[in-house]
């Protein structure tokens, strides 16, 4: 018998894997949960669910538009459909998400793996840098991007308990566990992970770990940076942002997404309205990615801690000017 090829990224602590494991663990209790897959369960973490609940795993084939609109109909019969594929293909089905999920206000959870440059070698076609911007603009849609396996596990339960449409990002690459069990994820609430008084770094997803690293680097230079994990991009936690502006006077946003319309856009809209302050954006600068390892891409496209440090210093200078 020929040796089986090793499937990349199957094992480990990636956000997609922790989502897959947690959803599977919860689904004995949440009997109405069904998973819709577009022939990519090995990549989205849904292979765990398929194995545990074959009768509740719905193979839709490579047909994302039908999958998305069907999920609305399934929810109409009382099920809680989890629509899964890569985030770029959630863009392909966004009009179905808009009409048959969000406008109809169906209890569907859209969970997208492979967001951002974190995708790595698969290149620009798979590296979705626009999904937060697009999904955030749809009424009724909650948008979440957890930062580590602990938060992913808590968010998985939270979206099942929440009634209504949700778009949630997972992630392809292995992700450090940065939060312990005392952490308490809540939809719509940002969390201060590290306090500081000179600047606030507001981050989501894989950029949260890089922001904590940046705060450490800043600290060694005598700059006190606060780090906020803004896992819910919509609805944005304006109350916390106002407080951060009042207490630190400068904001840097950091996300593995375009600087147009994502977390940075949401934060800028909020503080422009409620408590204006200088703001700097870490994210891809209206460009596509390319093949490469996630860390190499983060360096080339300026998403690393070193670039967050530079942005924080620029922002503090603007505050003092």
């Amino acid at each position: 018998m020929a040796k089986q090829p090793v499937l990349l990224g199957r094992a480990g602590d990636s956000l997609r894997e922790s989502f897959g494991k947690e959803l599977t663990a919860l689904s004995s209790e949440y009997e109405n949960v069904v998973v819709l897959d577009a022939d990519i369960a090995g990549g989205t973490g849904m292979h765990h669910f398929r194995k545990a609940f074959p009768d509740r795993f719905i193979q839709c084939g490579i047909a994302e538009q039908n999958m998305m609109a069907m999920s609305g109909g399934m929810a109409a019969t009382g099920l809680i459909p989890i629509v899964t594929t890569f985030s770029v293909f959630m863009l392909r089905a966004i009009e179905q998400a808009r009409l048959s999920v969000a406008y109809a206000n169906m209890n569907v959870k859209i969970v997208a793996s492979h967001p951002g440059l974190d995708v790595g070698p698969d290149g620009a076609s798979a590296q979705c840098l626009e999904d937060i911007a697009c999904y955030r603009s749809i009424p009724n849609m909650v948008v979440i991007s957890p930062c580590d396996p602990t938060e992913m596990e808590q968010a998985t339960k939270a979206i099942l308990d929440y009634v209504g449409p949700v778009y949630m990002r997972t992630g392809r690459s292995n992700t450090k566990r940065i939060l312990d069990e005392s952490y308490n994820f809540e939809i719509g609430k940002g969390k201060i992970l590290r306090d500081g008084s000179d600047v606030t770094i507001v981050a989501c997803g894989v950029e949260v770990a890089r922001s904590l690293e940046a705060a450490e680097l800043l600290s060694s230079e005598g700059i006190s940076a606060r780090v906020v994990n803004m896992a819910t991009i919509k609805p944005i936690d304006s109350e916390l942002l106002v407080r951060c502006v009042k207490e630190t006077g400068a904001i840097v946003t950091a996300e593995d997404h375009s600087v147009i319309g994502g977390l940075g856009g949401a934060v800028a809209e909020s503080i422009a309205m409620h408590e204006p302050a200088p703001i700097e954006f870490i994210g891809t600068k209206d460009v596509f990615g390319e093949s490469g390892e996630p860390d190499e891409l983060a360096e080339k496209y300026e998403l690393t801690a070193a670039f967050i440090v530079k942005a924080a210093k620029r922002c503090i200078k603007r505050k003092l000017a």
Binding site: N66, A69, M70, G72, M74, A76, T77, L79, L99, A104
Partner: protein, 275 residues
């Protein structure tokens, strides 16, 4: 079958809306009426129960036909019909699940209602509910790739609780189907996608009844009824004319002439005009 009253009410609502799609409303209305009056198992007062048949109007621009039928069977009051397409009114131009939950899906983007209905059929079967799901699509709608994605899914899964109907009036927004993108051979297409196909005259009550009776007996496959219809059926100046696809405004004289042809008395016509 005589659905003149329904046709009049639907046209009257489009007249008062000052916009709408009369052609496809008139081609679809006989089948929708049959479903709600004769075929489906449902309770006009309880759309929350899971064990009921469902209908999705995927060609949502024909919503005026569905609303008129809903008024006839008592789901809504006929006094609501002339609020179609008006501000702060529940009768949206295309069906909307939030404002009219009994209409099942939010529609207006072709292909989606078809998928939504497939999702309902799959969801019911998963939960061992034996009720049926009906979905009407337009002919031009079959140009959407999503329809064929759904067609493959439904046959692959043997959804015999699903019955689709094509309102095959041969006309779409700009022109005849065959001048836009050809659909034929339709029967062969659907059969090759694994569906059971029944072709009927979509305005003939006996053929409609026989088709739905037959569809219920077909096992392990979804069924599609290809209903040959006439766009604008019942109003001679609209019949088979692409100009009446809409969205368009009906003038007083156009409404008078249509209502008169549909058997309305002078008094009824005056009442319709004054709304």
């Amino acid at each position: 079958m005589n659905n003149d009253w329904l046709r009049r009410k639907a046209l009257e609502s489009i007249y008062h809306a000052k916009s709408g799609h009369p052609g496809g409303v008139l081609s679809a209305i006989d089948i929708i009426e049959y479903l709600y009056n004769n075929e489906m198992d449902y309770d006009i007062n309880d759309f929350d129960r899971i064990d009921r048949d469902r209908f999705v109007l995927s060609k949502g621009h024909s919503a005026a036909a569905l609303y008129a039928v809903a008024a006839k069977v008592g789901i809504i009051s006929s006094s609501r019909l002339n609020g179609l397409r008006k501000l702060n009114h529940e009768l949206q131009a295309h069906t909307h699940r939030v404002s009219t939950p009994w209409a099942e899906a939010s529609t207006g983007s072709l292909g989606q209602g078809f998928s939504f209905a497939i999702g309902e059929a799959y969801g019911l079967r998963m939960q061992n509910v034996s009720n049926r799901v009906y979905v009407m699509i337009g002919d031009g709608e079959m140009q959407e790739g999503e329809v064929w994605e759904g067609a493959m899914f439904a046959s692959h899964n043997g959804l015999d609780n699903l019955c689709a109907i094509v309102d095959y009036n041969k006309l779409q927004s700009d022109d005849f189907n065959e001048n836009i993108i050809k659909l034929e051979p339709l029967t062969a297409k659907w059969e090759s996608f694994g569906w059971s196909v029944i072709e009927i005259d979509g305005h003939d009550g006996i053929e409609i009844k026989e088709a739905f009776d037959k569809a219920k007996k077909i096992k392990l496959k979804p069924t599609i009824i290809i209903a040959h219809t006439v766009k604008g059926k019942g109003v001679s100046y609209m019949e088979n004319s692409p100009a009446w696809h809409g969205s368009l405004k009906l003038t007083d004289s156009e409404l008078r002439s249509a209502l008169s042809e549909l058997g309305a008395s002078e008094k009824e016509i005056e009442e319709a005009i004054s709304g």
